[in-house]
Amino acid sequence: MRNANPIIRFKNVSISFGRLNVLNGMDLSIYEGETITIIGGSGSGKSVTLKLLLGVLKPDSGSVYFQGRDVTTMNEKELIQMRKQFGMLFQGGALFDSLSVKENIAYPLREHFDYTENELDRIVAKKLSLIGLPGVEQRMPADLSGGMKKRVGLARAIAADPKVILYDEPTTGLDPANTQRINRLIIQLQEKLKVTSIVVTHDMESAFMVSDRLALLKDGKICFVGTKEETKKSTDPTVRGFIEGKMTEKDREEQMAGGLNELL
């Protein structure tokens, strides 16, 4: 797998917001068909990475390649063409409040294809059964529980049969049962659809369950990439700290200082 050309490649990407350097020369290659999890603390730039990949944000320097083409230099039309091949599950589901579940899932389909109503109904029903929620088409997002919203969000992400699925904190804020369910769904979708998946999370248990490889983002760089086994065996103190849920002394000081600054 490693010898193949990567489907996605971040090359020396830097981005800052105001005086805050979020990414600082980040490099990462992602291969077709794998599930890679990017782990890192809050505010380490995990979500920014996904936005850069979609071309929603432009890096200050560096390039992001998707299928060999540089996302950062694409014009609006090319970006739209590229985004058709992506599906994204957002942290809170990000379902459109004003639209029913069916319309939410049909949204990317209406945007890019000319399906008839009957075909749309059939596709939406199929996606809903895939995520284990058949028959909720006519419900409004406000009537769904948090876990159901996420699953409908997932159905919407896979509606247009994307090549790449992006998961932004898929298990955050869910109870243990729903967390397990989402984890299993990610694995099932991977097996059934053979897509490339990028998961961004700080939930280590979920990361180990769903991914082929893990990448640790720290100080704006990827400081470790490896398979599950390599990660578990790693002796790198930052990696160990993350796996065991412990903070290094430096992190703790920084967090304290950050917290105090916010209070003042």
């Binding site: 936005k51 979609l54 929603v56 609006e76 970006l79 739209i80 063409q81 590229m82 985004r83 058709k84 992506f86 994204m88 957002f90 942290q91 809170g92 990000a94 379902l95 459109f96 409040d97 949204y107 990317p108 945007e111 890019h112 919407r156 247009a160 992006l166």
Partner: protein
């Protein structure tokens, strides 16, 4: 300097959004059902308020003018002054202010919550354009409904004035209407309406901009909403002067 840079940044942001709105209007297919939905919701949301403001403005003007003009012995001309003032100035400006507070705040709050719940990002991620999907229907709806509401406000205001003029100034309703029809010409009416087309555009673009640039969670939505109303009102007053001058020159 501390205020100048953010101010210019803001102006630049609003101008860029206005430009993209107009450009995309001609580039992409317009979502008619969304437009109709927006116009209907703007109309139903603001008509009663606009009517209330218009009728009482007409009434209080009649009351004041009956006293004020009475001092010069000109009580009979109450209708002419009310007609001109409402059609040229008060109808358009007060309607637009009500539109800003009722609809502008609603637009900002709606788009602001969509931003903080990542719904706007979701639109982009699915390969759709937020300006085309969200901004254009709202701006167009404001541009179309502002003059429509103003026509209603003009009529309601004039009739409100008539009721009080009959009671307080002792003139007949027929005389009041004759005076207005004789004095107020179509140009007064159309200039007032033209202004509201611009006001509607400003309200739409500013409230959408405020909504789309919302940051800082739910608290940010509240802040953005207040700001939207304040900025819209300020822009309406300032541009009113220049637009009036411009139309008088034409």
């Amino acid at each position: 300097m501390n205020y100048l840079v953010p101010f210019l940044e803001y102006l630049g942001g609003v101008a860029a959004l206005a430009f993209r709105t107009v450009r995309n209007l001609f580039h992409y297919r317009l979502d008619f059902s969304a437009l109709i939905y927006q116009i209907a919701s703007i109309g139903s949301r603001s008509f009663s308020l606009v009517a209330l403001v218009a009728v009482f403005t007409g009434m209080v003007m009649a009351l004041q003018l009956a006293v004020g003009l009475g001092r010069f012995g000109l009580k009979l001309y109450v209708g002419q002054v009310i007609g001109l003032a409402i059609v040229r100035e008060l109808g358009p400006v007060l309607t637009s202010l009500m539109l800003a507070s009722r609809v502008g705040s609603g637009i900002t709050a709606e788009l602001g919550s969509m931003v903080v719940t990542e719904q706007v990002l979701a639109i982009e991620a699915m390969g759709a354009d937020p300006v085309t999907k969200l901004v254009i229907p709202r701006v167009l709806a404001c541009v179309i409904s502002a003059p429509l509401l103003t026509v209603m406000a003009d009529i309601i205001g004039v009739y409100g004035g008539m009721a009080v003029a009959v009671m307080e100034a002792g003139i007949t309703s027929k005389f009041y209407m004759d005076q207005i029809l004789k004095t107020v010409i179509l140009e007064d009416f159309s200039q007032g309406l033209m202004k509201t087309v611009f006001f509607g555009f400003f309200i739409g673009v500013i409230s959408c901009y405020q909504g789309l640039t919302t940051s800082g969670g739910t608290e940010g939505v509240g802040k953005a909403t207040t700001q939207a109303v304040v900025y819209c009102a300020a822009v309406i007053f300032v541009s009113d002067f220049f637009l009036t001058k411009l139309f008088l020159l034409l």
